[in-house]
């Protein structure tokens, strides 16, 4: 008993020092998520949809979720989200890895290349969306501007397209372009640090054994990078689910071509349809949690083992 008291005296102050943050995170993250979940099961819909005289705080179970999942617009926005996420993740991983591969053995002016490739990360997504709105101008005719005009000038007219207004289902893929532009440098930095962290003895040993460059990468270097690839995947995955600023800047809200749940949530909030806005947010939270929670648990376990 006495020992226990003494040990509380040692760690107690530590807990006390962290307690303000525990309270803040406890309330602002977990408390408000609970509050959101609660709102999402109430009748707090827009004035127009709520029958006169009904109590906005009455609980109506999962009716808001049922409403969303039976709405073709919401299903479409989920499809958009899937397409956007896949293209964005694949694109950023591809360019990130390619740039890291080009740089990893050391090139002249490496600092310059690195700085330029990474600079979009320092730019606000909304501000870059403003430029991409100009670049992705959908006009392909004689008055084409933006990238379409650039293609025309470079003799690459066949590349001209209507970008995000080209198809109600697949147009969203164009939105992945600015997102890839923004994030590839970050992924490059992660992989580059990974390559450089591999002890050079490993390479030398493989070369002495007569491994070709291809085999060196395939069997020696890439396997070393798998923890980084996992981190990159999680980062890109959760960012793709949360994409909001870029879409608001490029195509704006209420645009059927680029609807995603996060933008729908903003529109619903504007219409004071708080219950459904919260429901959309909860659906996204579940998606993000499915991705992130196993990763966090995995990390926590791994740390315990070391």
């Amino acid at each position: 008993m006495k020992r226990k008291i003494r040990s509380v005296r040692t760690w107690g102050p530590g807990l006390l020092l962290v307690s303000p943050s525990i309270v803040l995170i406890g309330f602002f993250v977990y408390g408000l998520i609970g509050w959101s979940a609660n709102i999402s099961t109430t009748n707090q819909n827009s004035r127009f949809e709520r029958a006169a005289g009904t109590d906005p705080n009455a609980h109506i179970g999962f009716a808001n979720y049922a409403h969303l999942f039976s709405s073709p617009d919401f299903i479409q926005s989920l499809k958009h989200l899937g397409i956007l996420a896949v293209i964005y993740i694949a694109g950023a991983l591809f360019f990130g890895m390619l740039w890291a591969l080009l740089l990893e053995k050391g090139v002249r002016a490496e600092g310059l290349f690195r700085t330029v490739y990474l600079f979009p990360m320092a730019v606000s997504m909304f501000a870059s969306g403003v430029v991409w709105n100009w670049l992705l101008n959908s006009d392909t005719g004689a008055g084409a501007s933006g990238l379409n005009q650039l293609f025309e000038m470079m003799g690459l007219g066949f590349l001209k397209n209507h970008w995000w207004v080209s198809s109600p289902t697949w147009g969203i893929a164009a939105i992945a372009l600015p997102a890839i532009w923004q994030l590839s440098g970050y992924i490059m930095a992660l992989f580059l640090a990974g390559f450089r962290g591999i002890p050079s003895e490993l390479r030398e040993a493989a070369r002495i054994d007569g491994a070709s460059e291809y085999k060196l990468y395939r069997y020696v270097l890439f396997p070393q990078l798998s923890p980084i690839a996992l981190s990159a995947l999680i980062i890109l995955g959760h960012m793709s689910l949360k994409m909001f600023d870029i879409i608001m800047a490029i195509s704006g809200e209420k645009n059927v071509y680029t609807s995603v749940p996060m933008v729908t949530m903003w529109t619903l909030t504007g219409q004071q349809d708080f219950a459904r806005a919260a429901a959309v947010a909860m659906i996204l939270l579940v998606l993000v949690a499915l991705l992130v929670v196993p990763y966090l648990v995995h990390n926590a376990r791994q740390e315990k083992n070391t």
Partner: protein, 294 residues
């Protein structure tokens, strides 16, 4: 974080004797060609922004949108400045104290969670980290209801509070990783044996070693608060919120005056870009820490 975040290539790689076969020379040429090609592609949006911002309103509508401006017109810049400058001060008032307060909280948490642990510290840490990944929309509707109840005014005070709170997880993560690498466990333990209390240890031993950690978290938080659009658009308006909403307002007009909007976008981007160029190494440090594993 005391050395370069991305290490240089191993000397053995740099000075490896590669036989200069014609094939190797071609490979080298292709490598540099690709590097330069991607460099130019990445810079396209920057070119468009800068070039268009110096055109007159009329010239921006001339058929060749990619051409260099005939002369340097400051029409767009002066219009953007008039429109956005009042919000720049407000944005600094949110971003600087916001970054400082969450960094301080992060340092305290990071120290305790790495070197002065209590039972359950790991669980608390993982629960905190989750707060960094959530889509903030999941807390937004209740926030809209709760924040007015706190008596905080809409605009700067509310946004400052929100950014401080949601900045805690990343700052905690960065400091925890940092202290784990620079402060030996034994040092703290021997201090404990000598009867050094938590506060004294933190203040006289840990804080003096924390400057690099603070630089990284300050830059990270400043950049993300400055660039935030989500909290800004939900919780404030153009007249009491950060500069990004002023830009959104310019970009949202019926006929977009591109020189003005692009000059505005450059104005909004300038502070974070300046931080990136001047303190790039530390900026990358934050990015790496954001990947959870140190």
């Amino acid at each position: 974080m005391t050395t370069d975040v991305i290490p240089a290539p191993a000397p053995s790689e740099l000075h490896r004797k590669v036989v200069k076969t014609p094939r190797a020379k071609v490979a080298r040429g292709v490598k540099y060609a690709l590097l330069i090609f991607f460099l130019l592609v990445v810079l396209i949006p920057a070119y468009v922004l800068i070039v268009t911002s110096f055109k007159s309103f009329g010239e921006a509508l001339s058929p060749n949108r990619w051409a260099l401006p005939h002369g340097l017109s400051l029409e767009g810049w002066s219009a953007a400045w008039t429109e956005l400058s009042p919000a720049l001060g407000r944005t600094l008032l949110i971003a600087i104290p916001g970054a400082a307060i969450s960094s301080m909280l992060g340092a305290m948490n990071g120290f305790v969670l790495s070197r002065w642990r209590f039972p359950g510290a790991n669980v608390i840490f993982t629960l905190m980290l989750f707060g960094m990944f959530i889509p903030y929309q999941a807390v937004m509707v209740p926030l809209l209801e709760f924040l007015p109840m706190t008596g905080l005014q809409p605009g700067v005070p509310q946004l400052l509070a929100v950014h401080v709170v949601y900045g805690i997880p990343i700052c905690t993560l960065i400091f925890r990783n940092y202290y784990q690498t620079i402060i030996p466990k034994e040092l703290i333990e021997s201090g404990k044996v000598d009867g050094a209390g938590l506060i004294r240890t933190f203040r006289s031993l840990v804080l003096p070693l924390s400057v690099p950690g603070f630089v990284v978290t300050m830059i990270w938080q400043f950049t993300s608060i400055w660039n935030d659009y989500l909290f800004a658009v939900f919780l404030s308006s153009k007249d009491n919120g950060p500069v990004i909403l002023g830009l959104a307002n310019l970009a949202g007009s019926q006929i977009v005056p591109y020189p003005e909007v692009f000059a505005g976008a450059l104005l909004v981007t300038a502070p974070t870009l300046l931080v990136y160029i001047v303190l790039g190494r530390w900026f990358v440090g934050g990015l790496m820490a954001g990947a959870v594993k140190s």
